[in-house]
């Protein structure tokens, strides 16, 4: 036993134990609840019987991803005030969901969002378009979770030495083919991917509801307890912020370590319109002759950063209300009123959670400035995992225990978000593609098998894609998924719930136009960013950046951004034009094709908006049962 575990030398036993408990506990809960999942309805919508408390915990557990758990703290630390919009809008996006979408969507009584898309417009074609978007947004959102899993596992086992043993092939290798100390990135991706795929295939939506709900509470515990201990030792939130800035009066302050040169200045960090929103103009100014720089900055910096801020707010708020893997959970509520109550509790649960990550950011800035020297996962992104180790010298093992707790929280974060994504994508494949398009007459048993097979296919694909994205930034990938969801699903749901004049062609035009243009815009910025990362050799970007580094498209894009910083901002944060564009397209095309509004639109609208107590929902399903074979 001792010899087989010898390679664990140098791994913190507390971090290892807590992470192991989280993973094993997840598998155990998955097996346990799998026994109760039997029918197709259990697998797709958890039998529509999840209570408000469980469902709110499960939705919160699913929503708080790697980006929330580690990325938000890292961003607050690296860019300051502007990054606060992320946690605030992640939480407040649910208000839009609550006000306009949650109740009606649940009343419609579908299994998946593509179900709603087809049912609302009586159009099988539209189901296909909607399925493509579910899968597409899902994979975009999956990759950062996988990346998080890979980097955290590599972090835990960073001092493992696999060289010279039977496991040498696992060790990371350098360019010359020599084995190095450490743990491979892909191992974490495979581990987390396999565990969750197993859980979903065994228990479906009902199986993961319990797991996700428990994981919310693990995450809430893992983010709050360590920070309270840290603040008790190093000074509270207000004191940490009080230490930043020249006018640092009016409150307690703490003694902090000297900042490194790469860190933003105190004023830029604590005030609005800091490095995040001004970087396009700053980059443009750097290319100008020195004499013109100050005037250029004075003229453009603040107005453009206001545009950036508004576009970011729109992307995050509308994107939250349009994420398919979140929306699908609303179908697990017993009725529309429960859907609304669930949403309110979700806002409270995630709001409480999101107060904490910025505290890690503020403490990290004051006490771990050396993290500014690294980039992404090697720098500020790991502040949540590293910060508790500050307690080491003074309090010994306490630092390790708290660090172990935050690592366990990080594991819970990727696992629960990936479970949700996997269920929604599996549902799209098994229910919409197999059950509705390929084999509409499949028996319930065949549908169940289809669900399990689809879970394995999607899980395998996600593991493969996840192992290829080590170079990309977690927050950046999540931001792209939000921008695309904001410009496609949010306008679709909002308009088709509240405007009865909407036609299938209008909906498709708006969703495709807004979604694809937003995708194109963010793709352009990521091409030039990846190329720039390759040119500066700041990241271990590998293949992707060496391909784009000398590509003429990347170079001309780089030129264009320098001359037109506003264009760069509008491409990086497309929501400010893409969301209105999608809505305008929907209105214009629907007006032009107004003859194709479904004939029974009044009935559909009644089902969406009338209280369940009037008994209209049952009536609707009976009407359609004969033809559609529900």
């Amino acid at each position: 036993m001792m010899t087989t575990l010898a390679f664990l030398n140098g791994v913190d036993p507390w971090i290892f134990t807590f992470s192991l408990i989280t993973v094993v506990g997840t598998v155990w809960m998955g097996f346990r609840s799998a026994k109760t999942s039997k029918t197709a309805s259990d697998f797709f919508v958890a039998g529509r019987s999840v209570s408000v408390g469980w469902n709110a915990s499960a939705i919160s557990g699913e929503y708080l991803s790697a980006a929330s758990f580690m990325g938000v703290a890292g961003m607050v630390m690296s860019v300051g005030y502007d990054a606060l919009w992320y946690p605030v809008c992640y939480a407040c996006g649910y208000l839009f969901l609550l006000l306009f979408i949650a109740g009606p969507l649940r009343r419609f009584g579908a299994y998946t969002i593509p179900d709603f898309a087809e049912g609302r417009f009586d159009s099988p074609v539209f189901r296909k378009i909607a399925v493509c978007f579910v899968l597409f947004i899902g994979f975009f959102y999956t990759m950062p979770q996988m990346k998080g899993a890979g980097t955290v596992l590599a972090y835990i086992f960073k001092s493992v030495d696999l060289r010279g043993g039977v496991l040498e092939f696992l060790a990371p290798h350098n360019a010359a083919g020599q084995a190095l100390v450490g743990f491979p990135y892909w191992a974490g991706v495979v581990l987390v991917g396999a565990v969750i795929t197993l859980n979903v295939a065994l228990g479906g939506m009902k199986g993961i509801t319990l797991v996700q709900a428990v994981q919310y509470w693990i995450k809430a515990f893992a983010i709050s307890v360590p920070i309270f201990v840290l603040m008790a030792v190093f000074g509270f939130y207000n004191g940490q912020l009080g230490a930043n800035g020249a006018n640092a009066t009016g409150g307690p302050t703490v003694e902090r370590k000297a900042l490194v040169e790469k860190a933003p200045t105190d004023t830029a960090w604590i005030a609005p319109f800091g490095p995040l929103t001004t970087k396009a103009v700053t980059a443009a100014a750097a290319k100008l002759p020195a004499a013109e720089r100050a005037a250029f900055l004075a003229e453009y910096q603040r107005p453009y950063s206001l545009v950036y801020t508004y576009s970011l707010i729109m992307a995050l708020v509308c994107g939250t209300a349009g994420l398919p893997h979140i929306l699908v959970r609303f179908y697990t509520n017993p009725d529309g009123v429960a859907a609304k109550r669930t949403t309110m509790w979700v806002m409270i649960l995630i709001g409480v959670f999101y107060v904490f990550p910025p505290m890690f950011g503020a403490l990290g800035r004051n006490f771990m400035p050396e993290l500014y020297l690294g980039v992404g996962a090697k720098g500020t992104d790991k502040v949540v995992l590293e910060l508790p180790t500050l307690l080491g010298p003074k309090y010994g093992v306490l630092g390790s225990i708290l660090s172990g707790i935050t690592c366990a929280g990080a594991f819970a974060a990727f696992m629960s978000t990936f479970s949700g994504l996997l269920v929604s994508m599996t549902g799209a494949l098994a229910h919409d593609v197999y059950g509705r398009m390929l084999r509409p007459n499949a028996t319930p048993a065949q549908r169940l098998t289809a669900f399990k097979v689809s879970a394995v296919i999607i899980g395998g694909l996600a593991i493969f894609l996840g192992s290829k994205v080590e170079a990309l930034e977690i927050n950046f990938m999540v931001g792209q998924a939000f921008a695309i969801a904001a410009a496609s699903y949010f306008p679709l749901l909002f308009m088709s719930v509240w405007w009865r004049g909407m036609t299938m062609k209008g909906a498709a035009a708006g969703m495709l136009g807004g979604g694809l243009l937003a995708l194109l815009a963010v793709a352009l910025t990521s091409i030039s960013d990846v190329a720039a990362a390759g040119a500066k050799k700041i990241s271990d970007a590998g293949m992707l950046s060496s391909y784009w580094e000398n590509h003429s498209l990347a170079q001309s894009l780089g030129e264009a951004w320098v001359h037109h910083p506003l264009l760069r901002i509008l491409c990086e944060q497309p929501a400010i034009w893409a969301v209105p564009l999608a809505i305008i397209l929907m209105v214009i095309v629907s007006k032009a094709t107004s003859s194709s509004v479904p004939a029974d639109i009044r009935m559909k609208m009644l089902v969406l908006h009338a209280p369940e107590k009037l008994g209209l929902k049952q009536e609707y399903i009976q009407e359609h049962q004969v033809g559609a074979g529900h």
Partner: protein, 99 residues
């Protein structure tokens, strides 16, 4: 599950649907407007009154305190009010039909 009694015909009338959607949308829009005024007003305050928003309140800048801490309870209050009024609205609708 027992089949509910068929709803009276007034439910299927155009007027009922219109008033139903209008009342629910009015409530949603009123709540959304309260939220948006604060959400979209905050960047404007930061832009036009930077010195005021940088005032220190027990270590926080005013702007950080509003966005990083106070914003969450503000949204909870809106959603709580919305839920209460929306449930009351639905009950009133059911009553008006059954009468």
């Amino acid at each position: 599950m027992s089949t509910p009694p068929p709803p009276p015909d007034s439910v299927h009338s155009e007027e009922f649907l219109r008033s139903l959607m209008r009342r629910q949308l009015n409530l949603s829009v009123a709540c959304a407007a309260t939220f948006l005024v604060v959400l979209l007003g905050l960047p404007l305050l930061n832009y036009f009154a930077p010195a005021f928003m940088a005032t220190r309140v027990a270590g926080f800048t005013l702007s950080w305190l509003v966005l990083g801490v106070l914003f969450f309870p503000f949204v909870w209050i809106i959603s709580w009010r919305f839920i209460r009024r929306s449930i009351a609205l639905e009950e009133a609708e059911v009553k008006s039909v059954k009468r």
